[in-house]
Symmetry: C2
């Protein structure tokens, strides 16, 4: 078996997932290695047996979020068909990635650029933002977006709403990720008026 008999103890993966949980509760800078050790049920030094240090934990977490977003952007369905349909697909997939990798994406959305690690993540994130921004402009050029709406504003408000989902979405209760995506697409594309 690939996951054999080891009864107790952590590995790099379990350390990462627990650490990211604490990072999201207290903020990365507000989390000490003591906090992580307490959450893991071990002493501080045990963490260093599994991972090189605090910043590497952050880097791995941010990569996990960004890899999900870039995979979505590279999909064929983001490149063929009317831009407005591709935009809707990208919005839905962004919600899916956010839900599937919730703690990692949540962490990404809060990065401020305090270290080289954070700056590198921000750089990749700006790349994704440029991708969706281009998509909205295409949809506008194809006449699929109301001409009185600035495409740049639409991009920011639309994906601002997507990102805000990370602040309250909990997979175990309430609406499913698809429900949330449906509601967002309905509201943003067709309006909330009854």
């Amino acid at each position: 078996m690939s996951t054999p008999s080891r009864r107790r103890g952590h590995d790099p993966e379990s350390v990462l997932s627990i650490a990211v949980g604490v990072f999201n509760e207290r903020g990365y800078d507000g989390t000490s290695m003591e906090d992580l050790a307490r959450a893991l049920g071990v002493t501080k030094s045990a963490i260093y047996y599994h991972v090189p240090g605090k910043e590497q934990l952050l880097a791995r977490a941010l990569d996990r979020a960004l890899d999900g977003l870039f995979a979505l952007a590279a999909d064929e369905r983001a490149a063929t068909g009317p831009a407005i349909d591709r935009l809707e697909w990208v919005v839905r997939q962004s919600v899916r990635v956010l839900a599937e990798r919730l703690p990692y994406v949540t962490l990404l959305l809060r990065v401020r650029g305090n270290s080289a690690t954070e700056q590198a993540a921000l750089e990749r994130r700006r790349e994704f933002d440029a991708f969706v921004s281009h998509l909205v402009k295409e949809a506008a050029a194809e006449g699929a977006i109301r001409p009185d709406l600035d495409p740049a504003l639409v991009t920011r408000l639309l994906f601002g709403a997507v990102g805000s989902i990370a602040e309250w979405y909990r997979p175990e209760r309430g609406a499913s990720a698809d429900d949330v995506a449906d509601a967002l697409v309905t509201m943003a594309f067709d309006g909330l008026r009854g």
Copy 2:
């Protein structure tokens, strides 16, 4: 005059406004008193002449944001007329408060509850959230919101989009606060389709 001849030096107000700027750049926990001192052009100890400490700076900043939001919620125009119109008015005013008190509201939106100060701010913020949530439910009950949209989801997505404005809005360039509010209301209420 009320602001007389004092040539140099800071006061609690100038310390607060500069400190909040740094808090938003690096995050509250990522900001040291050394960082603040550098931004103020003084030494660390000089800060304590003007303000009691780091956490008090945070408390004052958060109150400034929350006072703006509660003032809006207490306005008569948020209490009379069709709920959908009141909701639109509250959205527009929220954008206005966010723009007018941008650094303070930005800071508020990032609070995680790490200290008693932060928890108190989160408590007041939840109170405001409950107010807008009630407003959306009223609008839905009056039949002004598409029945296929869950009011709780609409509230979170709509005000998630409002909050996301803090991440990119800069008063000196780009769209004005009213432009942004117009775009948000148009998109969310009537949809972005052309």
